[in-house]
C-alpha cells in the first residue's frame, strides 16, 4: 500500500474499455487525473466521466461500501471503488478493469447474473417446514446471541463479487458455484432458525459444489467486508462429510416465541412515539 498523501497529485489512469457493440476485444485507454486528498477511485471515475469522457460506464450506488455495486479490479486486485482511496493504492498510475470471471456488459460493468443464479440455486433464505408461520408470523423465532455468532461473520456479505473474481477454481470451471453462493449457503445452514440443509446439500455437495474448492484462500484475502468465504467453505465441507457419515447433529429449528405477556417496560426506557401511519392489519 502506498503511503497516503496530503496534497494533490497528477496520476495516469488506465481504464479497461469495452463496448460489445463496437469493439472486438477490450482495450486500455489512458486518462490524466488530478488526485485530491481523500479522493476515492469512484470519485476519480466520476471526475473522468464528467470532465473527460462521458461514454465511460461503471456501476455504483451507495458510495459507502455497503451495496457492493462498484467492485472492480484496482491495480490488479478486486476491491470496492468507493472504499479505496486512490492515494492509498496508486503513486503515479492507476489501472482499473472489470472483475474477471464474469462477462463484460460494458467497460467496468461485469455481468453478475451467473453469480446470482448460483446464489439462488443454493436457497439463500430461511427454509422451514412451517410455511404457515413464515407467511403469517405469530411471533419471532428465538435465537440466542451464541447462535447468532455461528453465522454472523458470513452474514456481512454484500454480494459484490470480489471473491468470485479472485477465485482460481472459478477461472477454470465456470460451472463451479463459487465462494459467495457457497458461503451464503453455509450462513443459512448455520442459522438456528433454518431447516434447509438437506435442500442445499444437493447443490453444495454436487460436482461443481464445495469440493471443487482447493483452498487457495484468495476469496478471503480480497473480501472487503472480512467475510472469510474460504473458511465458510471448509466448514461446509466438514458439515457435508459429517452428514454423509450420519454424524451431523440434527437440529430442531428455533421455535416461535410469542409476544411477552407479563413483561413490563423498565422505568428508564421511554415508550415508543405514536404511529404516524396506521399499521397494516395482519393477515390471519
Amino acid at each position: 500500500m502506498v503511503e497516503p498523501r496530503h496534497t494533490s497529485a497528477d496520476i495516469t489512469v488506465y481504464l479497461r474499455r469495452y463496448n460489445p457493440e463496437r469493439d472486438a476485444r477490450p482495450r486500455w485507454q489512458r486518462y490524466a487525473l488530478r488526485v485530491l486528498p481523500g479522493m476515492t477511485v469512484l470519485d476519480g471515475l466520476h471526475e473522468i466521466q464528467e470532465k473527460q469522457d462521458a461514454t465511460l460506464s461503471f456501476r455504483f450506488s451507495c458510495r459507502m461500501g455497503v451495496c457492493g455495486s462498484c467492485a472492480m479490479m484496482i491495480n490488479g486486485l478486486p476491491a470496492l471503488a468507493c472504499n479505496t482511496q486512490i492515494a492509498q493504492v496508486a503513486d503515479r498510475t492507476l489501472a482499473l478493469a472489470p472483475l474477471p470471471n464474469f462477462d463484460i456488459i460494458k467497460d467496468l460493468v461485469p455481468d453478475l447474473s451467473p453469480m446470482f443464479r448460483k446464489h439462488t440455486a443454493l436457497h439463500p433464505y430461511i427454509e422451514r417446514d412451517d410455511v404457515g408461520e413464515l407467511e403469517n408470523p405469530s411471533g419471532e423465532f428465538y435465537q440466542s446471541p451464541e447462535e447468532l455468532t455461528r453465522y454472523l461473520q458470513f452474514a456481512y456479505c454484500i454480494k459484490c463479487g470480489s471473491c468470485m473474481a479472485a477465485c482460481p477454481t472459478l477461472a477454470t470451471d465456470p460451472e463451479y458455484s463459487g465462494p459467495m453462493p457457497l458461503a451464503q449457503a453455509h450462513r443459512y445452514n448455520n442459522d438456528s432458525r433454518d431447516a434447509g440443509f438437506h435442500g442445499r446439500k444437493m447443490v453444495a455437495g454436487a460436482g461443481h459444489g464445495a469440493f471443487r474448492c482447493h483452498y487457495a484462500g484468495e476469496c478471503s484475502h480480497v473480501c472487503p467486508k472480512g467475510v472469510d468465504p474460504a473458511r465458510a467453505l471448509q466448514l461446509m465441507k466438514r458439515d457435508l462429510v459429517l452428514d454423509y457419515l450420519r454424524l451431523k447433529r440434527r437440529r430442531t429449528p428455533a421455535a416461535v416465541q410469542g409476544p411477552a405477556r407479563d413483561a413490563q417496560r423498565l422505568p428508564d426506557i421511554p415508550s415508543a412515539p405514536p404511529f404516524t401511519v396506521r399499521p397494516t392489519e395482519r393477515k390471519t
Partner: protein, 120 residues
C-alpha cells in the same frame, strides 16, 4: 452428493495412508532401532525378512489396505488436478471411468501379488 461421498473416502484414505505409511517407515527405515518384524536379522529389505513378513496375515492386510488407500487417494487427487484444466462433461466421464478401471485393475494386481506371496 456423489462428490461428498468421494471426498469423504479421499480423506479416509489419507488417514489410512498416514497410519500404514508410518508403520512402513518404522519397519523399513528404523529396523536397526525398532528391530521388529525382521526375524532373520540384518536389513529389513533382506529377502528372508521380506518373505517372512509376506507370510504374516497382518502384513498382507496392511499391504492391501495401503495399496487401496494409496490408489484411491492418488487417483482422486490426480482427477481433481485434471478437472482443474476444465475438460468438458464427456471427457470428465471418460476420466472417471478410466480411473476406476485403471485403479481397480492395479488394485487387483497388487492384491493378487500379496496373496500369492502369502502362499509361497
Amino acid at each position: 452428493m456423489r462428490e461428498t461421498k468421494w471426498w469423504t473416502w479421499h480423506i479416509a484414505a489419507g488417514a489410512i495412508i498416514l497410519i500404514v505409511l508410518a508403520l512402513h517407515m518404522l519397519i523399513m527405515h528404523l529396523s536397526s532401532v525398532v528391530g521388529a518384524f525382521n526375524p532373520s536379522g540384518g536389513e529389513a529389505i533382506a529377502w528372508a525378512n521380506v518373505l517372512a513378513r509376506s507370510k504374516m496375515l497382518s502384513f498382507v492386510i496392511a499391504y492391501i489396505l495401503l495399496l487401496g488407500a494409496a490408489l484411491y487417494h492418488g487417483l482422486y487427487g490426480f482427477r481433481t488436478i485434471l478437472f482443474e484444466l476444465g475438460p468438458n462433461p464427456a471427457l470428465q466421464k471418460v476420466i472417471n471411468v478410466a480411473f476406476w478401471i485403471g485403479g481397480l485393475a492395479l488394485f487387483a494386481l497388487g492384491t493378487g501379488a500379496a496373496i500369492v506371496a502369502k502362499m509361497l
